[in-house]
Each structure stands twice: as structure tokens, then as C-alpha cells.
Amino acid sequence: MIKQRQQRPVVDPRLIQPILRTGGAYYLLVALLAAVVAAGLYVWIRQIRLGLAVTGMNTPVYWGLYITNFVFFIGVSHAGTLISAILRVTGAEWRRPITRAAEAITVFALIVGGSQVIIDMGRPDRVLNLIRYGRFQSPLLWDVTSITIYLLGSITYLYLPLMPDMAILRDSLPTEAPGWRRRLYRLLALGWHGGAEQRRRLERAIAVMAVLIIPIAVSVHTVVSWIFAMTLRPMWHSTIFGPYFVIGAIYSGIATLLIAMVIIRKAFHLEAYLKPLHFRYLGILLLTFSALWFYFTSAEYLTTGYGGVPPEMRVLNAKLSGEYQAAFWGMVAAMSIAFVVLLLPHLPAPGRIRLPAFRPRFAAATGVAALLVAVLIFNQAGLVTVLTDLNVGPAAPALPWLLAALVALFAVSVLPVLRQNIIAGTVIAAFFVDLGMWLERFTIVVPTETRPMLEGYVIGIYHPSATEWILTAASFAGFVLLYLVFVKLFPIISIWEIREAEEVIPHTVKKQSYLPEVGPMSSKG
């Protein structure tokens, strides 16, 4: 261990290594992503020249992948700030190594999400009309306002806790580090010296921002949903949309954070900081939102199906058994897989299960009770009639799919790796959650448009064009690229907050599960 100068705590080299040393793989990845982004730029310029005819959009499918991506990315942006803010406000100490990673996701997802709207506009050159002639009667202006405030708030909220780290880097950068880095950190540190008054003010500012950012974040995805819900379109005009979108947003946000965490952990060897406990806790959070998602989704679809209003049924049928069944049931399958994989580690191991069904008296009692209930329910109507009245008939063609999904789920659930390796399991689930959420955004945006309310009106067809797919790929690539640049400039794990934890949290066994056990962090020079 290198001896540091007086009164300067040693920084764990693992935390600044990503900033100081860059391997060839990093440059290769950056070049690859930059190429995809460049391809996106090229097709976008072409789209501006030729008009939106280069997309698959048409009359009456006025919105397509761009708006799907918009809703998805704005949703992902809830990762960060909201999760990190809630964990800060509730004083969850295990948050310390993950807040920065989450807050950065928020800022970059907002930038990418916001740009989707510009891409989708017929006249992006007139974007300033939104300020010149903005009308607050329009849900679109609510979005512009809310997302702008959220972006500014998130940047502030990312920057405030970054300030002491900038000072740490400014002071502990090795001499061979390039001068621009030193200047950058000196500038961003804003003269931070870590005095008592400075610390008091910073902690106050962070606390205030953490509280403020929560209602702003909730408002963001609520007004995103209101773009749809404020129109009279079937299956859009729904009061549940605000909370439904917010739930989905946080859900996909946690998932994206988990994926980012596992990559950071592996790439920068930060296993000591991003521990299984973090994945377990975030996995439980993800599981909770998975349950909420199923609750909201079934509430929405059952209400629509049971009501059976013809314009809404046309949309519902398009999703359940029409041309969008692959997207819809794909979403259901992805979410189901995620749910099971997340639940697995919390169930007793197969060898230890003692099924009461194998106890004769218990099994007999259960059987009789089940029979009684079944007879009571079905003796009058019969199962088929009940299913018909519930309007789930259109779902019948999907039953083989569901069966296949169930079999697949069962097969997956016996994989011991998912049960033993909490990190692998949680990240696999997170991947399916993000996939499912993208499909959910798609099945909300497109099918409704294809079935206009007016009977006799043309049924819409939508096949996304190559331009749209390339721009979608470029958006995802751009998001990762922004993140990659960020981890090279700034410590992705908050150095001072970890150090603070060493001081403020009493040493317990529990503490060791979410912070590095012993290390240079606590040693003073």
C-alpha cells in the first residue's frame, strides 16, 4: 500500500481504477456502439430529408416504435433517481454502492427518451414552437414541462453527491494523469474541502433533492401515460394508466439498474462492493413490482374484457388473438419467467419441501373442500359459460403458448444455478423484465391505433421499417455509450459515501454484507 500524504485518506484503488486504466475491450465496445449510433444518425438525417414515409407509420397508425421507445426509456429513467431517492429518504444503508449507478441511468435514459420525441416529430425544426406557442391544455406540454424539470432535477441530484468525489479525485490523481482530467475535477469539485459547514450544506441539499425528486418522477410517467389516456381511444382512455405506467417505469428501472450493476461488477472487479446482498434486496424490490405489474395488468384487461364494449373488444382481440398476440403473449411469458426466477431463491429447496398433500388426512380434506367449491361455482353455469362471460374466449388460441410457457417455466425453475447464484438469477429476471416492459409499451401504443373507434373505418397495419429498427438499436447503443463514457470520467461507486459509512455505521455482521469487510477505506494516512 502506497503511503499517502498527511490527512488524506487512502482511496481504494479499485474504485478509481476504471477511471485511470482503460483496456482494449473498452475501446472496441465504444467503437462498436459509436458505429451503431452513427448508423442511426445517418437514417435520421435521411428521414428528415424524405419525411416520415421512411418509417412504417401510416394512417391510422400515427405512432410506432419511436413512441414505444420514448415510453420505455422515460420509464427506465425511474431507475435511478426514484430508487436512489427512496433508499436515501428511508435511510437504507445498503444503498451506498448503488446510488450513483442508478442516478446516472436516470439522466441518460431521459436524454435518450426525450430525443425519441424529436425523432418522431414531423417538423423537428419547429420544436421551439412548444415554448413560443405552448398551450397548457395539451397533455404534450405537461410532458415537456415535467420531463424538463425531471432532467434538470436529476442532473442536479447526480451532481450533488458527485462533488466530494470530484475533490477526492482532484487530490489523489496520480501525477501521470492527463492535465485535462485534473482541470475537470478541479472545476467540478467547486472548491470542495470537506469542512463541517460544507458537509452540512451538502447533506441538506441532497436530502431536499431526494424528497423533491420523488413526486417529480411520479409525475413524469403519469403525464406520459396521459398522452394516451386523455384521448378517447379504446384501451387508452383509462383511469388506471397513470399509476400503471409509473409501476411499469419503476419496474423496468430496477431491472436496468441490476443489468448495469452486474456489468460494472464484472468489468471493473468491484465484487467487494456490489455484493450478493445488493442483488438480493433489489431482487425483492423487483419481485414486489412484478407482483404489482401483474395486478395492474390483470385489473386493466379484465375490466376491459368483462365490459365487452365493441370498440374496446376489437383492440383486446387484436392483442389476445389477433396480429399482436406474439407481442402480447411474449410480454406475459417474459414477465412470468421473471416472476418465477425472482421468487425461486425465496422458496425452500426442493429436497426440503414436505408437501402436505402426501399426508393422507390433509389431502383428503383439501380434496373435499376443492370439490365443494368447484361444485358450488360450476354446477349452475358450467366452466365454459363462466369463461365465455369473462370474455376470455379470444385468448383460447394462445392456450398452447401458455402451456408451453408453463412447461418452460417449470424447466427453468429446476435449474439449480438460479437458486444458488442469486446474482445470475436476478440478472436473468431483470433481462426478461426489460424485454417484457418494452413489449408492454409496444402493445399499449400500437394495437389501439389499428382499431379506430369508428366502425367501418380501415383497420390499420403496422410493420416497423428498417429506419425505425436502426434508430431503435441506435437509441439503445447511445444509452450504453453515454454510460460507458460516464464510468470513464466519474467514479461509478460513490467514494465518499462509502467512506462515510465506515464512520457512521456501527460495525455489525450485517454491515459486512453490504460494504467491503476490511480495506484501505477506513485507514487514515
Binding site: G51, L52, Y62, G122, S138, L141, L232, R233, L454
Partner: protein, 233 residues
């Protein structure tokens, strides 16, 4: 101040589509061409929608010509973020082509799908060039914005400038192109607030109805229900 409205008698309509053609030429609506038409990029300020009822052989076809409904409570105007669409003092729903940002929220809001987006640069391919009238208002719209039926606002404006009467009540009255051209004489145009006008009287007919009235959009295009068709036994 008049409140312009239209009445379309479905018993007189022969679904000949002359209204659609007249509207195109009058308003310099671009031709999409067969390929773009198939992709759903064609623009129809006026269109004729066919509704089939019943099962073969007891089938009944109904054709509904549809201009913009010029709602008194227009959902499209409500949602526009920049005020590019508005309802003028005479109740006509208009579009400001040089302010529209092309977000297409108004198209989502319209329950009649009566708004159209310029997906590409307007074109008059091949021999269709002859149908483009560069001297007449309204000029072809640029790509990337929304356009719609205006009850031929240019005709109404010109009539007022020249002091000519407007509406179907007068034999010389100026009316929108679709009304003027209607081969069956099925369309009427005039002031709904004048209790003696033809449109006002017809709008109070027991046959009169409006599309999706239950939405509360208060459309100013009225339809006269076709008479009951009895199968001879």
C-alpha cells in the same frame, strides 16, 4: 355570426366519390400514388366509408361520406400543444400549417380519424401534375405537418370579399367543393344558427343524426338516415 354546418342525405348519396375528387382538386391535396396508398399514406380530406351490416345474403351496405365533422367541442383542438389547430369564430376547425410541429396528437384525439399527416413531400406523379393548381389557395402543404378539411375556407373568404351569398339556401350561394359537385344533390351547406336555413331545418329532422354523438364532440356535420329497406317477400 354564422355557424357553418353540413347535412348529408344518405338516401341521396350514391357513393360515387365525386366529393372526394372535387375536394382533392379544390384543395391541392397531393396524390400518394398506388404504392404509398397501399402503405396508408394517402390523404383524404373527404372520404367515403363503407359499412357492411348483416350476414350474407341479408347484407346491407351503407356508405358514409366523411368530411371533417367540425365539432363544436373538438378533441383535436384541445390537445394541440402549440395551438396549430383552432376553431374559428364561425365554428370551422382550421389548421395553421406553418405552426404545426407534426406531433400527431390531434390525429390520435380525433375520434373520426379525419386528420391527415404529410408522410412525404407532396407529389403529383406523372399525368396527375395537371391536377395541381399552383395559383390557387390553399397551396400544397409541406411534409411533416397535419392537414384537414376546412369547409373550403378559401371559397367562403372569397365569397365574403365579393359580397356573394354563402350556403345551399341560395341558388347562387357559395358552398364547399364537395357540396357543389355532389351528383345526387345529397349535401347541403349553410348556417346552423339560422333557424330558417336548409341545414338548420334538416338537422332537426327525425332522420338526422351525427356520428358518435355520445362522445359529446358536438359535430356540425349531420346525416339523414337512409329509409328502411324492406326485403320483398
Amino acid at each position: 355570426m354564422p355557424r357553418w354546418g353540413m347535412v348529408i342525405d344518405l338516401d341521396k348519396c350514391t357513393a360515387c366519390q365525386a366529393c372526394t375528387v372535387a375536394c382533392r382538386v379544390e384543395n391541392n391535396v397531393s396524390f400518394a400514388g398506388p404504392d404509398e396508398y397501399r402503405r396508408g399514406r394517402a390523404i383524404f380530406w373527404n372520404t367515403v366509408v363503407g359499412v357492411m351490416e348483416g350476414e350474407f345474403p341479408e347484407v346491407r351496405a351503407e356508405y358514409i361520406p366523411m368530411p371533417c365533422m367540425h365539432c363544436d367541442n373538438p378533441p383535436c383542438v384541445k390537445v394541440c400543444p402549440v395551438g396549430a389547430t383552432y376553431r374559428d369564430a364561425e365554428g370551422v376547425v382550421k389548421q395553421l400549417y406553418d405552426r404545426c410541429i407534426g406531433c400527431r396528437l390531434c390525429m390520435q384525439a380525433c375520434p373520426y380519424n379525419r386528420r391527415y399527416f404529410n408522410w412525404q413531400v407532396p407529389e403529383w406523379p406523372g399525368t396527375f401534375t395537371a391536377y395541381r393548381n399552383p395559383d390557387r389557395e390553399p397551396q400544397p402543404r409541406p411534409k411533416g405537418i397535419v392537414e384537414k378539411c376546412t369547409f373550403c375556407e378559401q371559397r367562403l373568404r372569397k365569397a365574403r370579399e365579393e359580397g356573394r351569398p354563402i350556403g345551399s339556401d341560395d341558388a347562387e350561394g357559395v358552398v364547399p367543393a364537395c357540396v357543389e359537385t355532389c351528383t345526387g344533390g345529397a349535401r347541403y351547406f349553410g348556417d346552423l344558427d339560422n333557424p330558417d336555413s336548409i341545414v338548420s331545418r334538416l338537422s332537426r329532422s327525425p332522420r338526422a343524426y351525427r356520428l358518435q354523438e355520445e362522445l359529446g364532440t358536438e359535430p356540425k356535420v349531420y346525416y339523414l338516415r337512409p329509409g328502411q329497406w324492406e326485403k320483398e317477400s
